[in-house]
């Protein structure tokens, strides 16, 4: 805290020498060139946001197709003239491949859905879009540490996605997103599709490593004067912990995918049991990355929740340090539990050890959840869309977490393994963890990012459709799975049909919900009310600059004078969030 350089209040802005980062360069061509070569973390964040949402759209189309296929089982009916007719095979025609066996086509669509959702949506999702946009602002920096590297990461991500999608265009792979060997190395002669897909994953891994590395250095080196580690907003802590996982886990998927590509191209045998290789080795490598990936997705989501919960309940976070350290704790434990995905392929002692370690993750997670609940206690909660989604997250994540326990327990996992119970569980965690929270973040920060208020009633309707649609789609799958419906099959015995029908109808409700959001957000860009600098009365630094932010984030370098959540001492009682005056007196917690 050397110089005292106050940030200007919201009313003083507008006449400054810089413009909004969204300001046009004049012609369309100049704008395109400017965005394509930008090194501004905000623009790159927005570019990630659109890329990621586009991937979510593609993955979502696949999901709807899968559910449509599952609406009825494939039946062979004897026609009156003695022939046989197959009904219920819906995906075949969709892919223009009626001749191929239904399950094969189904599994290709399923793999594409899973791979898009995991590698192209979850992993970059919140960290690369919201993290890129807000993390530097929240620590009072002008940009990330390596802006050009940041832009390169985006291009690498796009290139990797194109590789993976190209594989789908030439037919796709049916291995599932986990690419388990030996199936993935033997499945069919045309290995280029698999090579393209895996190469895509390898390339995207690079993008992830570079983003993580960039963020770690940014947090270490670019905090504003006066901002100590424990003055950082919890979202920044979460992004920091995520970045560490990205840096430490992604190289392992890098070597795994490389080895798999070599295996596929040269049949050199490391994973191929016929040649003395070890397919379980592949599983170890794969999950050493892919379990931490679950936390790459959930940690930033938890960071978002810490922001929305404090801001919209106007309460100081309960147990700041505990929440901050639990992020690091989760990151650490995430590296120790990978083998719980392989209970059915390992010895009893190993399995018991990994089962125990898995339960450990519950500790830092529970710390977070209890602290959030304690924060809500006696808060002045505003039930706007971000808050509704925050509540929705707590609800879905609790179900997702608790239903994980039977899977982390050796004995019950034997029964539930690879059933629809697993499908329901991971959708509760992944969907509840990323999509729901991305929607919370999107609405919470929308006014800041684009300078427009979204249309609240429309957005709330969207919330209810998504929330109910989600539960209708996936809750019934717990029951289905417990009854023995296996995953990754296009067809099933008739007795499961009514449950699949409910699930499929739920997926249509979800679609309606997403369309409602799409509509309200696009509408707000065109005709929304202009947002003030601080529409929610937030205390973190991003609310101390214009909406949308200035090109250089702040008119002058901010000096941090209060903690990010000091609502009790900073906020004057009975003020409307919208007219909340920015504190000027220098104090910190």
């Amino acid at each position: 805290m050397t110089t005292v350089d106050t940030h200007a209040g919201p009313a003083d802005h507008g006449g400054g020498h810089h413009g909004s980062y969204l300001a046009s360069r004049g012609s369309l061509w100049a704008d395109i060139r400017n965005w394509a070569t930008t090194v501004d973390h905000k623009k790159i964040g927005v570019m990630y946001l659109f890329a990621v949402l586009f991937m979510f759209f593609l993955g979502g189309v696949m999901a709807l197709a899968l559910r449509l296929e599952l609406l009825e089982p494939v039946r062979t009916i004897t026609t009156p003239d003695g022939g046989a007719e197959v009904t219920g095979q819906r995906l075949g025609p969709l892919f223009g491949a009626e001749g191929a066996p239904a399950n094969n086509i189904y599994n290709r669509a399923m793999t594409l859905h899973g791979a898009i959702m995991v590698f192209m949506f979850i992993v970059p999702g919140i960290p690369a879009s919201m993290g890129n946009f807000f993390m530097p602002i929240m620590i009072g920096a002008k940009d990330v540490a390596f802006p050009r590297l940041n832009l390169a990461s985006w291009y690498i991500y796009v290139a990797g996605s194109l590789f993976a999608l190209a594989s789908a265009l030439v037919g796709g792979v049916d291995t599932g997103w986990t690419f388990y060997t030996p199936y993935s190395t033997m499945t069919d002669a045309d290995h280029w599709r698999l090579v393209a897909m895996i190469l895509g994953v390898f390339i995207m891994g690079f993008s992830s490593i570079l983003t993580g590395l960039n963020f770690v250095v940014t947090v270490h080196k670019l905090r504003a004067p006066g901002m100590g580690w424990f003055d950082m907003p919890l979202f920044v802590w979460a992004i920091y912990a995520t970045a560490i996982i990205q840096v430490l886990a992604t190289p392992v998927i890098g070597i795994t995918t490389l080895l798999l590509i070599f295996e596929r191209l040269f049949n050199y045998g490391l994973f191929d049991p016929r040649m003395g290789g070890d397919p379980v080795l592949f599983q170890h490598f794969f999950w050493f990355y892919s379990h931490p990936v679950v936390y790459i997705m959930i940690l930033p989501a938890m960071g978002v929740i810490s922001e929305t919960i404090t801001c919209h309940a106007r309460k100081k976070i309960f147990g700041y340090r505990a929440v901050a350290f639990s992020s690091l704790g989760i990151a650490a434990v995430s590296f120790l539990v990978w083998a719980h995905h392989m209970f059915t392929s390992q010895g009893e002692l190993t399995a018991a050890i990994f089962s125990f370690l898995t339960f450990l993750v519950a500790v830092p997670t529970a710390i977070k959840v209890f602290n959030w609940i304690a924060t809500l206690y006696k808060g002045s909660i505003v039930f706007n869309t971000p808050m509704l989604y925050t509540m929705g997250f707590l609800f879905l994540f609790t179900i997702g977490g608790l239903t994980g326990l039977p899977l982390a327990t050796l004995s019950t996992d034997m029964h539930l393994h690879d059933s629809y119970y697993v499908v329901a569980h991971f959708h509760y965690v992944m969907f509840g963890g990323t999509v729901i929270v991305l929607l919370a973040a999107l609405h919470h920060w929308w006014p800041k990012m684009f300078g427009k208020m979204y249309w609240e009633p429309g957005a709330q309707m969207g919330f209810w459709l998504v929330f109910l649609g989600f539960n209708v789609t996936f809750f019934i799958q717990f029951i289905m799975g417990a009854h023995g419906m296996p995953r990754r099959y296009a067809s099933y015995p008739d007795e499961y049909q009514w449950m699949h029908v409910i699930s499929t109808v739920g997926s249509w409700m979800l679609l309606a919900g997403f369309l409602a959001h799409l509509f309200t957000l696009v509408y707000s860009l065109m005709a929304g009310r202009p947002a003030s600098a601080n529409p929610w009365g937030g205390l973190t630094l991003e609310w101390h600059t214009d909406s949308p932010p200035d090109e250089h984030n702040f008119a002058s370098e901010p000096i941090v004078k209060h903690g990010p959540y000091d609502y009790d001492s900073v906020v004057p009682p009975h003020t409307e969030p919208d007219e909340f005056p920015l504190p000027d007196e220098p104090y910190r917690h």
Partner: protein, 228 residues
């Protein structure tokens, strides 16, 4: 924005290029930028170590499963070629360190010669690998996996050994090639007066990268050539 060191009294136009280079405007000071750049490089090196760690895990497991094949396999490798390559890389690690030192001291010519020697050492390494090891061995049928076609193999698992040999040294060699690209880039930019006592971060970072390439070879050499 040009960051000008306030302790320096020369007007900007009279200074050597490297003292007037653009600094990222988001860094508070040039020192911060330097520290950040080094920190980022160390993190990147950590990812390289982890990448090879995966490979070493695979080696360890297969070695445990097929000790005979691995013992035979390493007998087929000539430790003298591996040793020569070790010396070449160690020497090049020394020359690139010298290049960093000379850049810090402002000796452009000495930096040039050291960088060039480093580059040729890298080339020598690849020549040994390709012409004295890969090509003859491949010709004899000592090939990875299904391609294996060596009539006098003593253990049915020898193809596995060759698989790991080619994959490990191949991935390492690709790092050597990338290193040659980076060192070539340094040589060109050194001629353009981009580096000097106040601007040697890129030289130092490439140097660190080159050391890790060397270090990994120091692990590969005994694992593949020396342990029987």
């Amino acid at each position: 924005m040009t960051t000008i060191d306030p302790t320096d009294s020369l007007p900007a136009e009279d200074r050597p290029y490297h003292e007037t280079v653009e600094k990222g405007h988001h860094w508070r000071t040039g020192d911060d930028e330097f520290d950040g750049g080094k920190f980022g490089m160390w993190l990147f090196l950590a990812t390289e170590v982890l990448l090879f760690a995966g490979l070493f895990c695979g080696y360890a497991i297969m070695r445990m499963k097929y000790p005979e094949a691995f013992a035979n396999g390493s007998h087929y490798l000539d430790w003298r070629w591996g040793g020569l390559n070790t010396l070449v890389l160690l020497y090049s690690s020394y020359t690139i360190a010298a290049a960093i030192r000379h850049t810090q001291l402002g000796n452009k010519a000495a930096a040039r010669i050291n960088l060039i020697i480093t580059w040729f050492c890298a080339l020598a390494f690849l020549v040994v690998k390709l012409f004295l090891e890969y090509i003859p061995k491949w010709g004899e049928g000592k090939r990875p996996g299904v391609l294996f076609d060596y009539a006098y193999a003593q253990d049915p698992m020898e193809p596995m050994w060759w698989s790991l040999y080619y994959v490990a040294t191949g991935i390492h060699a690709s790092h050597v090639i990338i290193g040659m690209g980076l060192i070539g880039w340094l040589i060109v930019r050194n001629e353009m007066n981009r580096y000097g006592p106040k601007n040697y971060l890129a030289v130092e970072n490439v140097g660190l990268y080159w050391h890790i390439v060397d270090l990994i070879w120091i692990f590969l050499f005994p694992l593949l050539y020396l342990i029987h």
